[in-house]
Protein backbone atom coordinates (compact mmCIF):
# COMPACT_ATOMS: atom_id res chain seq x y z
CA UNK A 1 0.00 0.00 0.00
CA UNK A 2 2.98 2.35 -0.46
CA UNK A 3 2.72 5.69 -2.12
CA UNK A 4 6.21 5.59 -3.57
CA UNK A 5 5.33 5.37 -7.22
CA UNK A 6 7.07 8.52 -8.36
CA UNK A 7 10.55 7.25 -9.04
CA UNK A 8 11.59 10.36 -10.90
CA UNK A 9 11.66 13.92 -9.78
CA UNK A 10 9.15 16.37 -11.05
CA UNK A 11 6.57 18.74 -9.71
CA UNK A 12 3.42 16.93 -8.93
CA UNK A 13 1.19 17.86 -11.81
CA UNK A 14 -2.24 16.34 -11.54
CA UNK A 15 -2.50 15.86 -15.26
CA UNK A 16 0.65 13.79 -15.40
CA UNK A 17 0.75 11.31 -18.16
CA UNK A 18 2.04 8.23 -16.42
CA UNK A 19 0.04 5.64 -14.54
CA UNK A 20 -2.06 7.06 -11.71
CA UNK A 21 -1.12 5.94 -8.22
CA UNK A 22 -3.32 3.17 -6.91
CA UNK A 23 -5.42 3.71 -3.81
CA UNK A 24 -5.08 1.29 -0.92
CA UNK A 25 -5.64 -2.06 -2.54
CA UNK A 26 -4.80 -1.14 -6.11
CA UNK A 27 -7.54 0.51 -8.12
CA UNK A 28 -8.32 -1.83 -10.96
CA UNK A 29 -8.03 -0.95 -14.61
CA UNK A 30 -11.74 -1.63 -14.75
CA UNK A 31 -12.37 1.11 -12.21
CA UNK A 32 -10.13 3.56 -14.00
CA UNK A 33 -11.99 2.91 -17.26
CA UNK A 34 -15.36 3.17 -15.56
CA UNK A 35 -14.45 6.51 -13.95
CA UNK A 36 -13.27 7.95 -17.20
CA UNK A 37 -16.20 6.60 -19.19
CA UNK A 38 -18.71 7.91 -16.67
CA UNK A 39 -17.09 11.30 -16.38
CA UNK A 40 -16.86 11.74 -20.15
CA UNK A 41 -20.42 10.55 -20.67
CA UNK A 42 -21.70 13.02 -18.09
CA UNK A 43 -19.67 15.83 -19.62
CA UNK A 44 -20.85 15.02 -23.12
CA UNK A 45 -24.44 15.03 -21.90
CA UNK A 46 -23.91 18.39 -20.26
CA UNK A 47 -24.64 17.07 -16.78
CA UNK A 48 -21.31 18.28 -15.45
CA UNK A 49 -18.27 19.92 -16.99
CA UNK A 50 -14.55 19.44 -16.62
CA UNK A 51 -14.03 22.88 -15.13
CA UNK A 52 -16.54 22.25 -12.35
CA UNK A 53 -14.82 19.00 -11.51
CA UNK A 54 -11.48 20.71 -11.34
CA UNK A 55 -12.82 23.53 -9.20
CA UNK A 56 -14.54 21.07 -6.87
CA UNK A 57 -11.29 19.14 -6.46
CA UNK A 58 -9.51 22.35 -5.54
CA UNK A 59 -12.17 23.30 -3.01
CA UNK A 60 -12.15 19.85 -1.46
CA UNK A 61 -8.38 19.68 -1.25
CA UNK A 62 -8.23 23.10 0.35
CA UNK A 63 -10.33 22.11 3.34
CA UNK A 64 -7.91 21.20 6.12
CA UNK A 65 -8.34 20.62 9.84
CA UNK A 66 -6.74 24.02 10.55
CA UNK A 67 -10.08 25.75 11.10
CA UNK A 68 -11.15 23.03 13.51
CA UNK A 69 -7.90 23.50 15.39
CA UNK A 70 -8.58 27.22 15.74
CA UNK A 71 -12.08 26.50 17.00
CA UNK A 72 -10.68 24.19 19.67
CA UNK A 73 -8.08 26.74 20.72
CA UNK A 74 -10.76 29.39 21.01
CA UNK A 75 -12.97 27.07 23.08
CA UNK A 76 -10.04 26.32 25.37
CA UNK A 77 -9.43 29.99 26.08
CA UNK A 78 -12.98 31.35 26.06
CA UNK A 79 -15.58 29.51 28.13
CA UNK A 80 -18.45 31.52 26.65
CA UNK A 81 -17.41 30.41 23.18
CA UNK A 82 -17.02 26.86 24.42
CA UNK A 83 -20.59 26.91 25.77
CA UNK A 84 -21.84 28.23 22.44
CA UNK A 85 -19.89 25.54 20.60
CA UNK A 86 -21.42 22.79 22.74
CA UNK A 87 -24.93 24.21 22.38
CA UNK A 88 -24.88 25.06 18.67
CA UNK A 89 -21.74 23.92 16.91
CA UNK A 90 -22.64 24.97 13.38
CA UNK A 91 -23.44 28.53 14.35
CA UNK A 92 -20.43 28.88 16.66
CA UNK A 93 -18.02 27.41 14.09
CA UNK A 94 -19.52 29.35 11.21
CA UNK A 95 -19.33 32.62 13.08
CA UNK A 96 -15.73 32.15 14.22
CA UNK A 97 -14.21 30.67 11.08
CA UNK A 98 -16.31 32.28 8.39
CA UNK A 99 -16.95 28.82 6.91
CA UNK A 100 -20.24 28.62 5.06
CA UNK A 101 -21.89 25.64 6.70
CA UNK A 102 -25.32 26.13 5.14
CA UNK A 103 -26.57 22.87 3.70
CA UNK A 104 -24.03 20.79 5.60
CA UNK A 105 -25.15 18.14 8.10
CA UNK A 106 -25.90 19.01 11.70
CA UNK A 107 -22.76 19.16 13.76
CA UNK A 108 -22.17 18.44 17.43
CA UNK A 109 -19.07 18.88 19.50
CA UNK A 110 -18.18 16.27 22.10
CA UNK A 111 -16.25 17.68 25.00
CA UNK A 112 -13.50 15.55 26.48
CA UNK A 113 -12.86 15.95 30.18
CA UNK A 114 -10.44 14.55 32.73
CA UNK A 115 -12.88 11.69 33.28
CA UNK A 116 -14.40 11.15 29.84
CA UNK A 117 -12.81 10.67 26.44
CA UNK A 118 -14.78 10.62 23.21
CA UNK A 119 -13.80 8.92 19.98
CA UNK A 120 -15.87 9.18 16.80
CA UNK A 121 -16.52 6.64 14.08
CA UNK A 122 -19.02 5.59 11.45
CA UNK A 123 -19.34 1.83 11.48
CA UNK A 124 -21.80 1.79 8.57
CA UNK A 125 -19.88 3.95 6.11
CA UNK A 126 -17.71 7.05 6.58
CA UNK A 127 -19.78 9.87 8.03
CA UNK A 128 -17.33 12.51 9.17
CA UNK A 129 -17.40 16.27 9.82
CA UNK A 130 -16.07 17.04 6.34
CA UNK A 131 -17.24 20.63 6.37
CA UNK A 132 -14.83 21.37 9.22
CA UNK A 133 -12.08 18.75 8.93
CA UNK A 134 -11.95 18.05 5.22
CA UNK A 135 -11.63 14.56 3.80
CA UNK A 136 -11.42 11.70 6.30
CA UNK A 137 -8.24 9.61 6.41
CA UNK A 138 -8.32 6.19 4.76
CA UNK A 139 -8.16 4.33 8.05
CA UNK A 140 -11.36 6.00 9.25
CA UNK A 141 -13.20 4.60 6.22
CA UNK A 142 -11.64 1.14 6.29
CA UNK A 143 -12.90 -2.06 7.84
CA UNK A 144 -10.41 -2.38 10.69
CA UNK A 145 -11.29 0.88 12.41
CA UNK A 146 -14.99 0.70 11.69
CA UNK A 147 -15.26 -2.87 12.97
CA UNK A 148 -13.07 -2.67 16.03
CA UNK A 149 -13.40 0.78 17.58
CA UNK A 150 -16.89 0.08 18.93
CA UNK A 151 -15.77 -3.21 20.36
CA UNK A 152 -12.23 -2.63 21.64
CA UNK A 153 -11.63 1.11 21.65
CA UNK A 154 -8.71 0.99 24.09
CA UNK A 155 -6.86 -1.46 21.86
CA UNK A 156 -7.57 0.68 18.79
CA UNK A 157 -6.42 3.82 20.59
CA UNK A 158 -3.25 1.99 21.61
CA UNK A 159 -2.54 1.42 17.91
CA UNK A 160 -2.54 5.19 17.58
CA UNK A 161 -0.13 5.44 20.48
CA UNK A 162 -2.84 6.64 22.81
CA UNK A 163 -3.18 5.39 26.33
CA UNK A 164 -5.71 7.03 28.58
CA UNK A 165 -5.15 7.35 32.31
CA UNK A 166 -6.88 4.71 34.41
CA UNK A 167 -10.41 5.66 35.35
CA UNK A 168 -11.10 7.71 32.24
CA UNK A 169 -14.34 6.61 30.65
CA UNK A 170 -14.27 6.06 26.89
CA UNK A 171 -17.35 7.02 24.93
CA UNK A 172 -17.36 5.78 21.36
CA UNK A 173 -19.77 7.75 19.22
CA UNK A 174 -21.05 6.01 16.10
CA UNK A 175 -22.30 8.54 13.53
CA UNK A 176 -25.22 6.48 12.34
CA UNK A 177 -27.54 9.24 11.16
CA UNK A 178 -27.57 12.87 10.10
CA UNK A 179 -25.30 14.30 12.76
CA UNK A 180 -21.57 14.73 12.39
CA UNK A 181 -19.34 14.82 15.43
CA UNK A 182 -16.21 16.71 16.30
CA UNK A 183 -14.22 16.06 19.45
CA UNK A 184 -13.16 18.96 21.65
CA UNK A 185 -9.98 17.43 23.08
CA UNK A 186 -8.87 17.97 26.64
CA UNK A 187 -6.48 20.89 26.85
CA UNK A 188 -3.03 19.55 27.67
CA UNK A 189 -1.39 20.47 30.95
CA UNK A 190 1.29 23.14 30.97
CA UNK A 191 -0.38 25.35 28.38
CA UNK A 192 -1.93 27.96 30.62
CA UNK A 193 0.14 30.80 29.21
CA UNK A 194 -0.03 29.78 25.59
CA UNK A 195 -1.58 31.95 22.92
CA UNK A 196 -4.47 30.69 20.80
CA UNK A 197 -2.13 30.20 17.86
CA UNK A 198 0.19 28.08 19.94
CA UNK A 199 -2.72 26.05 21.25
CA UNK A 200 -4.12 25.51 17.77
CA UNK A 201 -0.70 24.17 16.83
CA UNK A 202 -1.17 21.06 18.97
CA UNK A 203 -4.69 20.33 17.78
CA UNK A 204 -4.35 17.80 14.99
CA UNK A 205 -7.07 16.14 12.95
CA UNK A 206 -6.66 12.95 14.94
CA UNK A 207 -7.26 14.72 18.25
CA UNK A 208 -10.58 15.97 16.86
CA UNK A 209 -11.56 12.43 15.89
CA UNK A 210 -10.44 11.28 19.32
CA UNK A 211 -7.82 8.69 18.45
CA UNK A 212 -4.95 10.78 19.77
CA UNK A 213 -4.40 13.32 22.53
CA UNK A 214 -2.95 16.77 21.91
CA UNK A 215 0.66 16.81 23.01
CA UNK A 216 2.10 19.95 24.48
CA UNK A 217 5.73 18.96 24.91
CA UNK A 218 8.09 18.22 22.08
CA UNK A 219 5.78 16.17 19.90
CA UNK A 220 5.48 17.14 16.26
CA UNK A 221 3.33 14.27 15.02
CA UNK A 222 2.28 14.33 11.41
CA UNK A 223 -1.31 14.93 10.49
CA UNK A 224 -1.99 18.47 11.51
CA UNK A 225 -0.85 22.04 11.81
CA UNK A 226 2.74 22.63 12.82
CA UNK A 227 3.19 23.60 16.46
CA UNK A 228 4.15 27.19 17.05
CA UNK A 229 6.73 27.30 19.82
CA UNK A 230 6.44 30.18 22.25
CA UNK A 231 9.37 32.59 22.30
CA UNK A 232 12.37 31.62 24.41
CA UNK A 233 12.50 33.08 27.88
CA UNK A 234 8.77 33.51 28.03
CA UNK A 235 7.74 33.98 31.64
CA UNK A 236 5.80 31.12 33.12
CA UNK A 237 6.78 28.66 30.39
CA UNK A 238 8.26 25.79 32.30
CA UNK A 239 8.84 23.30 29.53
CA UNK A 240 12.60 23.10 28.99
CA UNK A 241 12.22 21.37 25.63
CA UNK A 242 10.95 24.62 24.17
Amino acid sequence: MGSDRHDHDHDHDHDHDHAPIAEGSAVSDESLRLERALRELLIDKGVIDAESIRRQIEVTESRTPAEGARVVARAWTDSTYRDWLLADAKSAIGAFTGLDLAGTPELRVLENTASRHHVVCCTLCSCYPRAVLGVPPSWYKNAEYRSRVVREPRAVLAEFGTELPAGVQIRVVDSTADLRYLVLPLRPAGTDTWSEAELAGVVTRDTMIGVTLPRAAGDRSAGGPVSVAPPLGRPGQDDPSR
Partner: protein, 95 residues
Amino acid sequence: MTPPVRLRPGTRVRVDARGVDHHCRTPRYLRGRLGRVVAHLGAFGDPETLAYHRPGALRNLYQVEFEHAELWSPGEAGVLIAADLFEHWLSVEDD
Protein backbone atom coordinates in the same frame (compact mmCIF):
# COMPACT_ATOMS: atom_id res chain seq x y z
CA MET B 1 -45.13 18.68 10.65
CA THR B 2 -42.68 17.48 13.26
CA PRO B 3 -43.72 14.33 15.10
CA PRO B 4 -44.20 14.50 18.89
CA VAL B 5 -41.07 13.67 20.84
CA ARG B 6 -41.86 10.41 22.61
CA LEU B 7 -38.63 9.62 24.43
CA ARG B 8 -37.06 11.63 27.20
CA PRO B 9 -33.39 11.61 28.21
CA GLY B 10 -32.73 8.86 30.71
CA THR B 11 -35.39 6.53 29.30
CA ARG B 12 -34.29 2.95 28.93
CA VAL B 13 -35.01 1.70 25.44
CA ARG B 14 -34.78 -1.57 23.58
CA VAL B 15 -33.59 -1.46 19.99
CA ASP B 16 -35.78 -3.54 17.68
CA ALA B 17 -34.27 -6.86 16.80
CA ARG B 18 -35.92 -7.18 13.41
CA GLY B 19 -33.91 -7.77 10.31
CA VAL B 20 -34.74 -5.63 7.31
CA ASP B 21 -34.08 -6.02 3.66
CA HIS B 22 -33.81 -2.35 2.86
CA HIS B 23 -31.43 0.46 3.66
CA CYS B 24 -31.43 1.38 7.31
CA ARG B 25 -29.15 3.09 9.76
CA THR B 26 -29.58 0.85 12.79
CA PRO B 27 -26.40 -1.18 13.01
CA ARG B 28 -26.79 -4.91 13.60
CA TYR B 29 -24.54 -4.80 16.65
CA LEU B 30 -27.21 -2.70 18.41
CA ARG B 31 -30.30 -4.65 17.38
CA GLY B 32 -32.16 -6.12 20.32
CA ARG B 33 -29.92 -4.31 22.78
CA LEU B 34 -30.86 -2.23 25.78
CA GLY B 35 -29.67 1.34 26.00
CA ARG B 36 -30.50 4.69 27.51
CA VAL B 37 -31.65 7.81 25.70
CA VAL B 38 -29.10 10.59 26.08
CA ALA B 39 -30.75 13.31 24.04
CA HIS B 40 -33.32 14.09 21.39
CA LEU B 41 -31.36 15.26 18.37
CA GLY B 42 -34.18 16.63 16.27
CA ALA B 43 -36.42 15.35 13.50
CA PHE B 44 -34.93 14.25 10.20
CA GLY B 45 -36.21 12.77 6.96
CA ASP B 46 -36.38 8.98 7.13
CA PRO B 47 -33.29 7.63 5.35
CA GLU B 48 -35.04 4.33 4.79
CA THR B 49 -37.30 5.94 2.20
CA LEU B 50 -35.04 8.76 1.06
CA ALA B 51 -32.62 6.08 -0.05
CA TYR B 52 -35.15 5.04 -2.68
CA HIS B 53 -35.99 8.58 -3.72
CA ARG B 54 -39.32 8.37 -1.98
CA PRO B 55 -40.36 11.13 0.40
CA GLY B 56 -38.76 10.82 3.83
CA ALA B 57 -41.24 11.35 6.64
CA LEU B 58 -39.79 13.31 9.54
CA ARG B 59 -38.72 10.95 12.29
CA ASN B 60 -37.35 11.81 15.70
CA LEU B 61 -33.71 10.95 16.17
CA TYR B 62 -32.13 10.20 19.53
CA GLN B 63 -28.67 9.63 20.80
CA VAL B 64 -28.78 6.35 22.71
CA GLU B 65 -25.99 5.10 24.91
CA PHE B 66 -25.07 1.46 25.56
CA GLU B 67 -22.81 -0.12 28.15
CA HIS B 68 -20.03 -2.10 26.52
CA ALA B 69 -21.05 -5.22 28.47
CA GLU B 70 -24.55 -4.96 27.00
CA LEU B 71 -23.13 -5.33 23.51
CA TRP B 72 -20.10 -7.57 23.88
CA SER B 73 -18.84 -10.39 25.98
CA PRO B 74 -16.58 -10.08 27.83
CA GLY B 75 -17.67 -6.60 28.69
CA GLU B 76 -15.20 -3.84 29.34
CA ALA B 77 -15.78 -1.48 32.23
CA GLY B 78 -15.66 2.22 31.59
CA VAL B 79 -16.66 2.02 27.94
CA LEU B 80 -19.89 3.35 26.50
CA ILE B 81 -21.05 3.25 22.92
CA ALA B 82 -23.43 5.92 21.66
CA ALA B 83 -25.33 5.86 18.39
CA ASP B 84 -27.98 8.00 16.76
CA LEU B 85 -31.15 5.98 16.30
CA PHE B 86 -34.60 6.74 14.95
CA GLU B 87 -37.64 6.57 17.18
CA HIS B 88 -39.34 3.87 15.13
CA TRP B 89 -36.51 1.51 16.08
CA LEU B 90 -36.84 2.13 19.82
CA SER B 91 -39.34 0.94 22.39
CA VAL B 92 -39.48 1.87 26.04
CA GLU B 93 -38.22 -0.87 28.30
CA ASP B 94 -40.22 -1.05 31.47
CA ASP B 95 -38.26 -1.79 34.60
